[in-house]
């Protein structure tokens, strides 16, 4: 059910509302931890541009408002359908429902891609119909798309799925109390957040001890040849596809820029540990797992 927290939305400070980016890789400049500005006002990166923090949030909101309706189409077109493989691999590695029902929270999961996969995986593999997913997104349009998607499934109007409009950097504690969830997922969304450490802190707060944080995100490609090909494709084809298919070149230009601004794998793993999570070692296969040479990457952490 779509339980839009409109009262919460209006009561939240405007600056706090735009933190959590949705996983649309369109424009959303998030402040990287390393950015330091000499000006007194707080700023954030919006792709390769630097904008005031408050402006970034509204820019992100505008971007996702405009791309919501064509989001899935653009994901398929720009990744040539590979994003489905990444998401399938991401969810199957988490094995939701293997040891009983889980309470999951999928942040920046507006269109319900990951939530649907979690519920389907638990049902098909472990006959689990008790696992639940709370889909959280800052953008109402994206949540509407997700709600519409779920209306076509058996999970509509069941306790297994709920939709919440909230800011990942400041999840309302009345709706998301401390130590609540077994699994926190965020796929292609954290990159667009204004303050990644704040998102990680909130994730740590809402997870139970022993709960798992899992983040799927575009990351750094270390292989020089693959990196060159990837850069060529990213900066030429993706904005062009954005123009042709979505009529919005700027949003998808932001997408490829924001990927390059995201911290590399070891740095992001360190941020996860600094938020209080325990991780594996700082190698591929430890604290993170690269997919397709690092084009996408899954970072995991456990709240101990």
């Amino acid at each position: 059910m779509l339980s839009l927290s409109r009262s919460l939305r209006s009561s939240l400070p405007k600056a706090a509302r735009l933190n959590c980016p949705r996983y649309i890789t369109t424009q959303s400049s998030s402040t990287t931890p390393s950015s330091s500005e000499t000006t007194t006002s707080r700023t954030a990166s919006f792709g390769f541009k630097t904008v005031p923090e408050e402006s970034k949030e509204s820019l992100v909101k505008d971007v996702f408002d405009s791309v919501a309706s064509s989001y899935d189409l653009m994901n398929d077109a720009t990744s040539l359908g590979v994003h489905r493989l990444w998401k399938d691999s991401y969810v199957s590695a988490l094995k939701p429902g293997r040891k009983g029902p889980m309470r999951c929270i999928d942040v920046a999961g507006g269109t319900g891609d990951i939530a649907l996969r979690i519920l389907d995986y638990a049902r098909e593999n472990y006959a689990d119909r008790e696992t639940s997913v709370a889909v959280v997104d800052i953008n109402a349009q994206m949540l509407k798309e997700g709600f519409r998607r779920f209306k076509k499934t058996m999970y509509h109007n069941t306790p297994q799925i709920s939709f919440h409009e909230a800011n990942a950097q400041a999840l309302p504690s009345e709706v998301f109390p401390d130590n609540t969830f077994d699994l926190y997922t965020i796929a292609f969304g954290i990159r667009n957040c204004t303050s990644i450490p704040s998102v990680l802190e909130e994730a740590h707060r809402v997870l139970k001890p022993g709960g798992t944080f899992a983040c799927l995100e575009f990351s750094r490609v270390n292989n020089p040849l693959l990196s060159t090909l990837y850069d060529q494709y990213s900066f030429t084809m993706i904005p062009l596809l954005g123009t042709i298919l979505a009529g919005d070149r700027d949003s998808y230009q932001y997408l490829v820029e924001s990927i390059r601004k995201f911290p590399p794998q070891p740095e992001f793993a360190k941020m996860i540990r600094e938020a209080g999570f325990a991780t594996g070692d700082d190698v591929d296969g430890g604290a993170w797992q690269d997919m397709w040479g690092g084009i996408a990457c899954v970072h995991k952490g456990v709240k101990l």
């Binding site: 077994d182 709960g211 594996g280 700082d282 430890g286 456990v302 101990l304």
Partner: protein, 242 residues
């Protein structure tokens, strides 16, 4: 590497640093998961080299940090890897604990006593060892059916550590010969222990006795061979062929 060194000296993690770094499984685990790994080692005797042992490690944390339930399978996967990868990590950690056990041998111990102590270390988990070795021998990413390298590394590390503890002073080829023979003796003894634990120590003693006589025989053969080869070299030279 600098960042790794920096993390190691971070005060949050320094208390979890293992005391030795000579024989550590590659890659070394981050401190929090390494701490759980060390807590899981004593659970191997009751739960085996299983993901269950890793999951239950959080139950043995100090009372202020202990969990009420074992870790979920998802959490174990996140910290240690999925499937048998996590079990391999636990097995390697246990093997490293065995090396630490050797290092704690009393001073002026003999090689026989050191290897005997290592065999005694196996006793609490003896019934779990065949499965553990089979997991190590099963290649994670290979088309081959068996991977002998973990077994060879295991024996080589024990032989090297035993020589180090007993301050072995062998040089050049003797260095390799000493470690090679010790590795062979230990491997044979450990395999014997898996099938017949009661006679393992007698078998170890017999192997040591046999190796010393074998070594003296080998030296004599070597010496005699050198005489023969020099003789033939002299004959060939005097014949005027060259």
């Amino acid at each position: 590497m600098e960042e790794k060194d920096k993390m190691k000296t971070d005060r949050r993690f320094s208390s979890d640093l293992p005391e030795f770094r000579r024989s550590v499984p590659s890659p070394p685990l981050f401190m929090s998961s390494a701490r759980l790994l060390r807590l899981a080692i004593p659970l191997v005797s009751t739960h085996g080299f299983t993901r269950e042992a890793l999951a239950r490690s959080v139950l043995t944390l100090p009372s202020s940090e202990a969990h009420s339930e074992p870790l979920s399978d998802t959490a174990v996967t996140a910290l240690f890897g999925e499937g048998d990868i996590a079990r391999r990590i636990l097995i390697c950690a246990w093997l490293d604990d065995g090396l630490r056990h050797i290092q704690s041998a009393p001073p002026r111990s003999t090689l026989k006593q050191v290897l005997r102590a290592r065999l005694e270390f196996n006793e609490p988990v003896l019934h779990h060892l065949p499965e553990a070795f089979s997991i190590l021998a099963s290649p994670a990413k290979s088309v081959f059916l068996l991977d002998p390298r973990p077994a060879l590394q295991h024996a080589a590390k024990i032989a090297d550590e035993a020589c180090h503890v007993t301050t072995d002073m062998s040089l050049q080829l003797a260095w390799y010969a000493q470690r090679g023979s010790l590795a062979a003796i230990y491997t044979a003894s450990e395999l014997h222990q898996l099938t017949s634990p009661e006679t393992a120590y007698e078998f170890l003693d017999s192997l040591f006795d046999g190796s010393s006589s074998l070594k003296s025989s080998f030296d004599e053969v070597n010496l005699f061979s050198s005489y023969i080869s020099k003789s033939w070299a002299g004959i060939v030279k005097s014949s005027g062929v060259f």
